[in-house]
Symmetry: C2
């Protein structure tokens, strides 16, 4: 066991840069998983499991409570920011905020031999930024659900090192418009499906978002076209055009009522007799704020900041669905996630590290 004195905070900015330097765009997390696995296997007190490109390290100290610290390994595609770049106490680069800073904090906590008051499960997982079917958490659950057991879960998503409570749900919807093919020199013989996108995109762009307040957390919904496609050949009036929508909805709605609201918005523009259709591709429920568990209250006190609504969907919903209260808590500005400018600061990293270290070393005082 470690000393009673809290160990010095390691250089988390450099550690994050090292992780950013290992590319891990979704579906290509193998190299980073190897790196994490190798780190965890050096820690004697952790039992380490690997499932696909997911790595799980668990302490077995026999404590009364277990905290799950979970973070995804994957990033969205690069945006001219593949290379990590440190300037002073700030690190820029793909995944720096979402969420290699969080991973660096988790790895540092795992490596630090301090006097833990709770058992900890460190979950590093793949496939969070892509369709749900690729989720590493689902892979782990399918292989050995016990690996994910715990009393509470903390997702290391970027929150600026404050608690972001609950999460918004997400719908993926595909709107497909029909037309009639024709030669482009005689377009009046056909119906151009790509032209028919205009009013649909206009209405999506003009969408007015609800902003409900739930348990003192203000959510903010969104509806975005994230993909568009159509066209056959340069000489052909296209008879099919498709737009993919991404809808974020506050946790006061379930997925069904969120879908109904999108349908109410767009169905007046669709003509089923023209072959138009709207299909739900994927839906993930949101999660309401859940801050009543003593361990999460303890973390909230450690951060000394009021909780804020999580606007993105995160795997707090995964744990909430399985009866495990969960919050988002990690370094990095969530507003910069998935932008070319994402970055993380040493201050955020150190703050997240010390709050979680305090939770792990003293959390048992408040545990049930």
């Amino acid at each position: 066991m470690g000393s009673d004195r809290a160990p010095a905070v390691p250089d988390l900015l450099a550690a994050t840069a090292e992780l950013v330097a290992i590319p891990s765009v979704s579906h290509s997390e193998g190299l980073l998983a190897d790196h994490v696995e190798s780190d965890l296997r050096r820690v004697d007190r952790l039992a380490v499991d690997r499932v696909g490109d997911n790595v799980i390290g668990r302490s077995h100290l026999g404590r009364a409570s277990r905290i799950v610290l979970a973070g995804h390994l994957d990033t969205v595609p690069a945006n001219g920011n593949l290379e990590p770049k440190i300037d002073g106490d700030t690190l820029w680069g793909l995944g720096s905020a979402d969420m290699k800073g969080g991973l660096a904090v988790m790895l540092a906590l795992a490596a630090t031999d301090f006097d833990a008051a709770v058992d900890v499960t460190y979950v590093f997982y793949s496939g969070e930024e892509v369709a749900r079917q690729y989720s590493g958490l689902l892979q782990i659950e399918g292989a050995a659900p016990g690996l994910l057991a715990g009393d509470v879960a903390v997702l290391g998503e970027p929150t600026g090192a404050r608690i972001e409570a609950g999460c918004q749900g997400v719908l993926k919807i595909e709107v497909s418009l029909g037309g009639v093919r024709a030669h482009t020199a005689r377009p009046w013989m056909g119906v151009n499906a790509v032209h028919r996108l205009a009013p649909v995109l206009e209405r999506v762009a003009a969408y007015e978002a609800r902003e409900p307040v739930i348990d003192a957390c203000q959510y903010r919904e969104a509806l975005q076209a994230v993909g568009v496609s159509g066209g056959l050949a340069a000489n052909v009036v296209p008879d099919r055009a498709t737009v993919s929508l991404n809808h974020r909805f506050a946790p006061d709605r379930d997925a069904a009522s969120a879908e109904a609201s999108v349908r109410a918005l767009l169905e007046p523009l669709l003509d089923p007799t023209a072959g138009d259709r709207m299909a739900l591709v994927e839906s993930q429920p949101g999660a309401s704020p859940s801050l009543t568990h003593p361990l999460l209250r303890s973390l909230l006190q450690a951060t000394a900041l009021p909780p804020r609504a999580k606007l993105g969907w995160t795997d707090v919903a995964f744990f909430a669905e399985r009866g495990i209260p969960a919050v988002n808590f990690g370094p990095g500005d969530p507003e910069l996630a998935h932008t070319a400018d994402e970055c993380v600061t040493r201050r955020d990293l150190d703050s997240a590290y010390t709050s979680l270290r305090d939770l792990i070393s003293g959390g048992s005082l408040q545990a049930p």
Copy 2:
């Protein structure tokens, strides 16, 4: 040499069905080229050349004039109409009108041993329905330009067996809109390039076409979006969206002024500081009606129908640019080209065949 009596018209509907049954979507014309080459090589009086998937058969009777009969082997992609289907005296199927009916007429003329008053060059070429760089005529010209020499050219494009004069020019233009990438849960941090397509598509859809009359032929311009694309990942506000435009312009304009008119229409919607750009991808000039050559006047008389404007771009422009007067003349309704309903009738096929046969057998009477 053949008899003085005009030979019976062969079964051109069956012959066209045979050609439709050989798929020849652009870039895959090899099988059909083999078939055509094999047919032509059976005709002793023709010298046959093959360049890539282009086949050229030339008579060398020492006549004073040479007519080039040219037709493209390729079709647009199938549209549920790959299989030829004959009902009574009509043939449906991919390419039946555009332009395997015309090819069947050319093959029948090539195979018929009648008393020709002119020399004839039969040109079967690939890559007409796709980007100009794939044009079989350019391939032939690159390999042996003499193969395309002649006094006039008749393109067997579908015209309902009447002369369609000149052709409209075509521009391919790409409009690309910029944006700022962001997480879809916080779209206000970015700018959605796909949403920005809405006003561009709306303006293209509302385009009001000019319909100038040139030499008694009424042209009709068109502007169509033929392709649209954009999107990175389901969670990312896209920072780039692209629409491909196809513009048909009457031959009273050159390509530069046609491009200027499209720019004038759309540039007010573009913001170069946002990364928007408009690029000319390809341009083909149109061709004015050219019906003064005695051989073409002779064909016009044989058809007993007034000439009409050709709205599509065709390779009459290729020959016109090289100083060879050319017209479009072939079986099949041009309004049905590139649609699922394209078809050709026995009446059109026979009419085109007899008009061209009369031209070839008697055209020298009016030749210079």
